[in-house]
Amino acid sequence: MIEIRDLSKDFPVDGELFRALDHVNIRIEDGSIFGVIGMSGAGKSTLVRCINLLERPTEGAVLIDGKDLTQMTPSELRMQRRSISMIFQQFNLLMQKTCLKNICFPMEIAGVPGAKAKARAQELLEIVGLPDKANAYPAQLSGGQKQRIAIARALASDPKVLLCDEATSALDPNTTRAILRLIKDINRRMGITVVVITHEMAVIEEICTEVAILDGGKVVETGSVERVFSNPQTEAARRLVYPDGVPSEDGGRKVIRIAFNGGTAEKPIIASLAIDCGIKANIMAADTRSIDGKAFGTMLLGLPEDPADYAKAIAYLKKQSNVELEEVSDYHA
């Protein structure tokens, strides 16, 4: 089990301390796939680097199977790291070494004899589905293939934990799904605990069982994926769960639906509404297309509740040719 206890991390920025992580508490059960999601800058990468102490926490403890990594000597820590593997967004393969040598690398560090390491590396190439790439160099591989080699390398030291730092963020959607399936498969077959750091909801939905939502260096919500995603309690969680068009919590908005019946697409109605009337409309949903230079479709707009502003916006929109509007009284996300 991985236990992160009351962990904080400060970085000096321009002579002042910036708190990247603020009293984070997380428990990750053995064999689970635990997701940490947050916007960029929320502290995800710092958090994952604190788990293997690539970043040393300012306060708090990281316990793996009850042993506190922050109390270890450098050599004890190096030994411990062999059981915590990591894969990265940019793969971080050795560019001057073949795939086979890359996979052998963690074993080389650990002093595994060359022949034994090679045999194991070949096995791992089979597991990740690239048995014919042993003598290829990383520069000759696609992104997805590079990540497969990185995964094989991560498995070479028989780790108990696999940390994935935005491991699919540089990949296209199809490759992402394939890599996630591979990670899930590895988790099931080898019982490796997986920690997934991502900013993409889809990744969490695809493979995670538990999730923690990180916002501004704090864990704002944590629990099973279904519970957190079906009923997000905090603003940060809602932003992530409904990335486009959230029913905003301020309540101070009225929603109207406008339909375009072939007005000129060049005329930016929403922008001119802001400029001409000073009204900030919120596009909550839109399905429009331009056919032969004319705009067709509908759009859901959130307008300010202030009656004067609202009336002004309605009047302005009514003046536009080829635009129809209606009020949506019972709008729910």
Binding site: Q90, L93, M95, Q96, F105, I109, A110, Y137, Q140
Partner: protein, 241 residues
């Protein structure tokens, strides 16, 4: 111009060069290679320390140590080579018992070149992707393993390019050593061209120097490209042409 190329001068130049060229080339070659070798013996570890010893390096050293290191390197690099050659005469005497001769001139060459080499190595090592180093650390590699198994092999093509620059630069410096009694093509060029106004002989020696630099450079460039595995077959063909 006409008199310069008239046959007696040309005949004399060819005569002198044919007698001296082989020894000169050999002396230039071995003093350059020897000086480059020892410059790397000192400069390579220094270059590694400059990168690993930084505040955010993999094995930080006390700030004062880094500062002293930088000052020494910058100091040595700012002394003009002609002056440095004279300044290290006592050192050459202490080490080799003499300050005259081809071997003796490798001492000032090494002193002049190792800070330069340290900077070359430093800039090559800095090219290594920080992510790759981080990956090695995450696997439990020690700082020594990171240097030997990651940083040096990953920067090998760049180190070879750097060594080529060092070699050709040291060859150029070595030509100056003729002034203080060093051997090689530089001595012939200075002795005949500067002291006796035999420009044609000087020109011949310079042409031979240029050819040597060309050979060093093209061998070095080819080697650097050949061992760079980031370059695939297709891009390699493009780079050569």
């Amino acid at each position: 111009m006409h008199s310069l190329l008239s046959s007696p001068q040309l005949a004399e130049a060819l005569d002198v060069l044919s007698r001296t060229a082989l020894t000169d080339i050999w002396e230039t070659f071995y003093s350059t290679v020897l000086a480059t070798f020892f410059a790397y013996v000192i400069g390579l570890p220094l270059g590694i320390l400059l990168v690993t010893g930084e505040k955010n390096g993999i094995r930080p050293l006390p700030g004062a140590v880094m500062q002293i290191l930088n000052v020494i390197i910058n100091l040595l690099r700012s002394v003009p080579f002609l002056i440095l050659m004279i300044m290290v005469i006592p050192l050459s005497r202490a080490i080799l018992g003499t300050s005259i001769g081809t071997l003796a001139t490798t001492i000032p060459l090494v002193v002049a070149a190792f800070p330069f080499v340290a900077r070359l190595v430093e800039s090559s090592l800095r090219e290594v992707d920080a992510g790759v180093i981080e990956a090695a650390l995450s696997m439990g590699a020690s700082p020594m393993q990171v240097v030997l198994k990651v940083i040096l092999p990953e920067s090998l093509p760049s180190l070879i390019s750097g060594a080529t620059i060092a070699l050709t630069t040291i060859l150029g410096y070595g030509a100056m050593a003729g002034i203080i009694g060093g051997g090689g093509l530089g001595r012939t060029a200075i002795n005949y061209g500067y002291y006796r106004y035999k420009y044609l002989i000087m020109l011949g020696a310079v042409v031979l120097l240029v050819i040597m630099v060309q050979i060093f450079q093209s061998v070095g460039t080819r080697l650097a490209i050949k061992c760079d595995k980031r370059i695939t077959q297709k891009t390699r063909r493009k780079r050569r042409s």
